[in-house]
C-alpha cells in the first residue's frame, strides 16, 4: 500500500513503529497532490516547505525516541476559514485577500500539539456560505463535492490527506463528506472550539471532521475536542476516549426518520437508504419508525433567520467598507440580515429551545436516529447541493455523522446520517463504527 492510501490511525501507527518515515509520508502526499489536484482544486494553499520541515523534525524526534503525540508526523488539512499562524487564510473571499493570521485556530493548534503536520489549507465557499469554491468532486469532476467544506471533502476522498478540518453552520461538513464517500462528523455544539475560525453564526458554527473511517474520526475528535476558555460557546463537558468507545460497538437501537427525510429524498436515495437499513436489520440492529415533534416543522425557517441575522452582525463592519468585494450570495445574505426584525430572531431562538426539548425523549429511546444524509447524490455543476437534512441538527446542536452506505446508478457515493443526544459522541461513534462494519467503507474514487 502506498503511504498516501493510509488512514489517520494506520499512518500514525506505522510512524510510531518506525515502519514509515514522516518525511516519506509528507512527500507521498505532496506528490499525490501535484499529480492529481489540477482538475480537483482541493487546495487553496499547500505549505510544502513548512510541512517538509515539520516532517524532518518529526523524523529527528522519532530517531531520538521522542514521540510528539498520537498524531506524530501525520499530516492534516484545514478548511481555509481556520486561522493558521503565518499561512495565508482568505476564507475563499477577496475581502480577506492576503490575510495572514498570527495564531492558529484552537483546532489546528491541538492537532499540531498532538504531533500533526498542517499540509495546507483547503478551499471553502466564500466565508463558508453559498458562493462556490472551485473544487470538483473526485468521483466525477462534473459534480460538486458539496460545500462549504468543499476542499476538505475532495482532498480526503482523493487520498491527498488522511483527515481534514471542516465546519458546519447549515450543512457544510456532513453533506460534502457524504457526496465524496467519506465519514463526516458534526459534533455537539460547543464540543470543539471555534476560536480562530472565521465566524458565520454565534450559535450554529460547528467545527467538524472528515476522514475515511469512523476510527480516524474518533482519533481526530479525541484530540480536538474539549473546553477552550477563549471560546465562549465551548463546553466544559469532559472528553471521553472516543477510540476506546469503538471497542464497545454492538447492534444499535435505531429510530428511523421516514417522514420529511425519506419523503424528500429522490426515489433512488430512498431506495439505497432503505436497502442499507435492511442490511443493518439483517446484521442485528433494531429499527423502529420515529415521529418527529411538532417543532421540527419550524426548524428550517428558524435556522435561516438566526444565521442571516448572525452573519450580518459578524460582517457588518467589513460590509460597510468592502461591500463590492463580496460575491453575490453572501452579499445578499448580509443585506437581508439587516432587515430581519429582532422579535422574530428571538422567536427563532425559542423554537430552537423547544425543538431540543421536544426531541430529547425520542433520542433517549434509541442509540441513534437514522436518515438519508442527502436528498440526492452530488449534483452536477457548481452549486453545492441541498443541506436540508443537516439543518435540524445544525440548529439544535445535536451531533450527527454520515457513513457511506452505497452508490447511485451514476456511481456517486451515498450515505446514512446518524444523530444522537448532546455530548453522546462516544456511543454515536460506536454505532457509526458498527454500521460501517456492516455497510463497508467506500473505496477510493478512480482518478
Amino acid at each position: 500500500m502506498s503511504p498516501h492510501e493510509l488512514g489517520l490511525v494506520d499512518a500514525a501507527r506505522a510512524i510510531r513503529r518506525k515502519e514509515l518515515s514522516p518525511v516519506d509520508l509528507v512527500d507521498a502526499l505532496l506528490d499525490r497532490a501535484a499529480k492529481i489536484d489540477g482538475p480537483i482544486q482541493a487546495w487553496a494553499l499547500l505549505d510544502r516547505d513548512g510541512a517538509r520541515a515539520a516532517a524532518r523534525r518529526a523524523a529527528d524526534d522519532l530517531a531520538r525516541g521522542v514521540l510528539g503525540g498520537p498524531l506524530h508526523g501525520v499530516p492534516f488539512a484545514a478548511k481555509d476559514i481556520f486561522y493558521s499562524a503565518g499561512l495565508r487564510t482568505e476564507g475563499g473571499s477577496k475581502v480577506m485577500a492576503g490575510f495572514v493570521p498570527t495564531y492558529d485556530a484552537t483546532a489546528v493548534a491541538r492537532l499540531k500539539a498532538a504531533g500533526g503536520i498542517l499540509l495546507g489549507k483547503v478551499h471553502t465557499t466564500e466565508f463558508a456560505t453559498n458562493d462556490p469554491a472551485p473544487t470538483r468532486n473526485p468521483w466525477n469532476l462534473a459534480c460538486t463535492p458539496g460545500g462549504s467544506s468543499s476542499g476538505s471533502a475532495a482532498a480526503v476522498a482523493a487520498r491527498m490527506v488522511p483527515i481534514a478540518l471542516g465546519s458546519q453552520t447549515i450543512g457544510s461538513n456532513v453533506r460534502p463528506a457524504s457526496y465524496c464517500g467519506l465519514v463526516g462528523l458534526k459534533p455537539t455544539f460547543g464540543r470543539i472550539s471555534t476560536r480562530g475560525v472565521m465566524a458565520l453564526s454565534y450559535t450554529q458554527d460547528h467545527v467538524g471532521l472528515m476522514a475515511r473511517s469512523v476510527e480516524d474520526i474518533a482519533l481526530g475528535l479525541r484530540i480536538v475536542a474539549g473546553y477552550d476558555p477563549a471560546d465562549p460557546s465551548s463546553s466544559r463537558e469532559p472528553v471521553p476516549d472516543y477510540l476506546d468507545a469503538l471497542t464497545r460497538r454492538r447492534p444499535p437501537r435505531i429510530g428511523l426518520l421516514r417522514e420529511h427525510f425519506f419523503e424528500r429524498a429522490t426515489p433512488e436515495v430512498a431506495r439505497v437508504t432503505g436497502g442499507a437499513v435492511d442490511r443493518l436489520v439483517a446484521a442485528g440492529a433494531t429499527v423502529e419508525d420515529v415521529t418527529l415533534p411538532p417543532s421540527f416543522a419550524a426548524t428550517f425557517a428558524a435556522a435561516y433567520l438566526i444565521i442571516r441575522s448572525d452573519t450580518t452582525s459578524i460582517h457588518a463592519e467589513r460590509y460597510a467598507e468592502k461591500a463590492d468585494l463580496y460575491r453575490p450570495s453572501i452579499r445578499a445574505s448580509i443585506e437581508i440580515g439587516f432587515l430581519i426584525p429582532g422579535d422574530l430572531y428571538v422567536r427563532a431562538l425559542r423554537i430552537r429551545g423547544q425543538f431540543r426539548r421536544e426531541l430529547r425523549p425520542t433520542l433517549a429511546r434509541y442509540d441513534v436516529l437514522l436518515t438519508p444524509t442527502t436528498t440526492t447524490p452530488a449534483p452536477e455543476g457548481m452549486a453545492t447541493g441541498d443541506p436540508r437534512f443537516q439543518i435540524p441538527w445544525s440548529l439544535s446542536g445535536f451531533p450527527s455523522i454520515t457513513v457511506p452506505c452505497g452508490f447511485s446508478a451514476s456511481g456517486l457515493p451515498l450515505g446514512v446520517q446518524l444523530v444522537s443526544d448532546m455530548f453522546t459522541e462516544a456511543p454515536l461513534l460506536a454505532a457509526a463504527a458498527w454500521c460501517e462494519d456492516v455497510l463497508g467503507r467506500a473505496p477510493a474514487p478512480a482518478i
Binding site: T203, A302, L305, V346, R347, R352, G353, G397, M422, F423
Partner: protein
Amino acid sequence: MDRDSLHAGYASALRAEAERRFGAARAEALKDNIDNVAGWMAEVAMFPVDADEPPAFYVEPAP
C-alpha cells in the same frame, strides 16, 4: 391572518426597508432573497412557541 397573507405582508415591508437602506436597484436584486426571508419570517411567526420557552443559545450538558 393566514400564512400566505403574512408572507406577503412581510415581503412588502422588507422590500420597502431594502429600498430605503440600499436603493431601488439593490432592492430589486434582492427580490428572491426577500421572498425567501419573508416566508421564513411567516413560518417562525406562526409557529406556536410555548409561552415559557426561553431563547436557546449555547448547549449545556444534561443535568
